[in-house]
């Protein structure tokens, strides 16, 4: 075994564990704002993901140990679960997770080989195939009189065909959905935004969730697990595009802060677009990747067929990664006539 003979301590497992840890504030906020249903969703997704991962590893002839303890399957499961509506039926969660692990991850070659972010593939498959069930968002607790306990949430999730009325009573359109619907009813943005779901700046409850995602993201950045490039440019992409549109016609396009704090953007910017496997690797590439994903998110939100665009935007940018990487190769040492850098001392 040739050199080097020593290693830094960081391992893949550690990185993944930190990502999971960084999601904890968001999960706590989720429980506080929308009730404990998310815990059921997370458990279902985790169990499915681990089971599917184990089965696929076995089928492909890989040893279970190093790959199961790398925690990557659980990260995928959590990211998917946090993107799903909190009262999505159990089979929806299972289908999405299976698709993410089996098709998006393992059929593409497993850890490190997948082109698309598995969690987002799972999400995209679900939103395309089951658009109705993908609207079962629990109403924020401060806007509803019906509080679901853990048991009740489980009942809804496992209940199979719960009468629509029951679901209708505890679910609510998300702010993005409401904005979309309102605009289609020829209302102006200001008129739509008087609805209670819009809250202070990013939608009642949702804004805190977004903040919690951002907090976790900052933790990852502080630990040097993610670099600033992708999150910052992603947010900038969303902000600039939304700002431009809003400036152009405030009546037809939502304000930029609203788009920024619809929680999927924070989740996407800090946890999904930063997925190293499917993201750009060069510094300039990361900037383009983030900016492009932010821009596409807004384009899809505004003109696309679905209310949110983060997942599709990231998947589209995933597709462009090889191209981006190829054309943004940084100069090598001594490869360009750079000026001497500023003195360090």
């Amino acid at each position: 075994m040739p050199s080097p003979f020593i290693l830094d301590r960081t391992s893949v497992t550690q990185i993944m564990a930190w990502v999971l840890a960084a999601l904890v504030p968001a999960i706590a906020t989720y429980v506080w704002l929308f009730g404990p249903g998310i815990l059921v969703t997370l458990s279902i997704a985790t169990l499915t993901a681990v089971g599917a991962e184990a089965a696929m590893l076995k089928a492909r002839g890989y040893p279970l140990r190093p790959f199961l303890v790398d925690l990557s399957a659980i990260v995928t499961a959590w990211l998917l679960a946090l993107s799903l509506p909190s009262l999505a039926p159990w089979w929806l969660i299972v289908t999405g997770t299976l698709f993410a692990i089996v098709v998006a991850k393992h059929l593409y070659g497993g850890l490190g080989q997948n082109i698309f972010n598995p969690a987002m593939v799972g999400y995209a498959v679900l939103i395309v195939s089951f658009p109705v069930q993908m609207t079962h968002w629990a109403a924020p607790l401060e806007l509803t009189s019906t509080h679901l306990t853990l048991a009740q949430s489980s009942a809804v999730i496992f209940g199979g065909d719960v009468p629509m009325a029951t679901v209708d009573a505890v679910t609510m359109a998300t702010p993005l959905d409401s904005l979309r619907t309102g605009l289609l009813r020829q209302l102006t943005v200001d008129e739509v935004m008087t609805e209670p779901i819009f809250g202070r700046f990013g939608g009642t409850g949702f804004e805190w969730l977004a903040a919690a995602f951002a907090l976790g993201g900052l933790l990852l950045w502080a630990l040097r697990i993610i670099s600033w490039h992708v999150p910052l440019t992603f947010l900038a992409g969303v902000w600039l595009t939304a700002g431009f549109l809003h400036f152009y016609d405030p009546g037809r396009f939502g304000p930029p802060w609203f788009h920024l704090f619809a929680p999927s953007v924070m989740l996407g910017a800090f946890f999904i677009a930063t997925d190293p496997v499917t993201g750009a690797t060069t510094p300039r590439g990361k900037l383009i990747f983030g900016l492009g994903a932010g821009f596409l998110t807004l384009v899809i939100r505004t003109w696309g067929g679905f209310p949110d665009g983060v997942a599709f935007a990231i998947l589209l940018m995933n597709l462009a990664v090889p191209l981006i990487d190829q054309y943004t190769q940084p100069p090598v040492y001594g490869g360009s006539t750079r000026k001497a850098k500023e003195p360090a001392a």
């Binding site: 075994m1 040739p2 050199s3 003979f5 020593i6 490190g112 190293p276 940084p330 750079r338």
Partner: protein, 569 residues
Amino acid sequence: MTRELHTFKGGVHPPEHKAESSGRPIHAAPLPRKLVFPLRQHIGNAAKPIVEVGDHVKKGQMIAAAEGAISAAVHASSSGTVTAIEPQPVPHVSGLPDLCIMIETDGRDEWIDHAPLDYRTMAPAELRGKLRDMGLAGLGGAVFPTGVKLDPGATQHCPTLIINGGECEPWITCDDVLMRHRADEILQGVAVMRHLMGSTEILVGIEDNKPEAIAAMRAAAAALDFPVEVVAVPTLYPSGGAKQMTEILTGKQVPSGKRSTDIGLQVFNVGTAYAVARAVHHGEPLISRLVTVTGHVLRPQNFEVLIGTPMQTLISLAGERDGTTGVLMGGPMMGMPVPDLEAPVVKATNCLLVQSRELFPPLPKALPCIRCTRCADACPAELQPQELFRFAKAGDFGRAQEYHLFDCIECGCCSYVCPSHIPLVDFYRYAKSEIWAHEKDKRAADLARERHEFRQFRQDREKKEKAEKLAAKAQAARAQAAQDQVRRAELATEPAPAPAAAAPADPDAKKALIAAALARAQAKKPDAAPKNVDDLPPAQRRQIDEIETRRAKIRELARQPLESEEKNT
């Protein structure tokens, strides 16, 4: 005055482990009974032996001469008798033996006549040749022949001379200790280098984790009649890399694919400067060097070691311990495992690092690359190691080269930080050596094509010439015959000579010659033939049969070579 320091991109900071061996004074290693001198101790052509088995040599006597432009001589490091010139274990990662000169020492340690050189009056080229003949090569690790590097190029002027005391690899302290104890002599060597390079600015870069060395060098520099700036640089691996040290001190990057003299500077290791001083001021060729012996030994320290000393001797000297799992030559980042401790200390041996399970736990199993780009962040050559890895692994060497594989300095930073624990550097070494092999094959193929085409051209020409000759001969014969007839008619009484008698004998004669030779060979054969056919294992016999059938086929082909071509046209 503090100098403006610059930073290079990337780098890592592994645990230093310098204190273990840097505290003790330099200890001279005893004269071993046997010395081994590999002929390939430097970059470039192997040296060519100029002694024979049985010769008696003195200490400092040249035993192998430099061969070609980039090469360095090899000298006996003590007096004794040449016992063998044969392949022996050498410190090489392959574990393959290489040609060495073996000397049994006589214990007298008797020097050859030697005297200091008056370098100021010598022509530069002559001095460089002298250094080459004294076997000087870079002692920092790359072992590039020093004489070649001491050429400022066409401009005859290299403004900046950098003396590299970075020694950034963990564990190694031989340069540190050398600077602490022999700063004066290092600077004497620097004076020679300055003279040859025509430098005006001399910078000595030393990592700031070696304050004693910095102090010693500064004190020695103060006494000189020319300015030498000793600069403390931040401790960060690989700041001791020549390019990295250059950038830290000057902010300049050596352009990719160019030499440092192209931007007016040259870098030498402190050990090399010391060796130059010994060579010039004492007339001593490179026959010894400092070697750090550290790690899992009882007394980690630095030895002054005669080149050619078996490594095992040094480890015993430092105190071998139980639980040794291996020995590295060099540091933990760029060193290589020593396959056989009978291998000698060579010019490149700066450190022997003895491993144990505690100091060097087995590396965890590698996982797939997750493209986290920590390697790219750590790479001091500013490459994209994850892409190079992908291409090297897939055997796409062309793309690897496009991504500047050959700018990789194999420092190991990428492997060090890789969270998937992939032996990245191994992949780059593999890719590089494959590319070299491919290029070699390609050159061989081109040569073969050229030679083949030339041969065909020659054959065509010969055929044509032969045909012409035959035609001429036939014509001559016809003319002769006609003349003969005329003559016969005229001189019917004279008997006609037989003109054609000699001609047909020509091919027959050749055949006869071959037959005769064949017969001679058959007579000789009894001792040659049996080794081909008798007592062969069935597999080999089958192989022979195979060859026979193919030969038959080829013979057949040769008999009707044009058939297939005729069909085509």
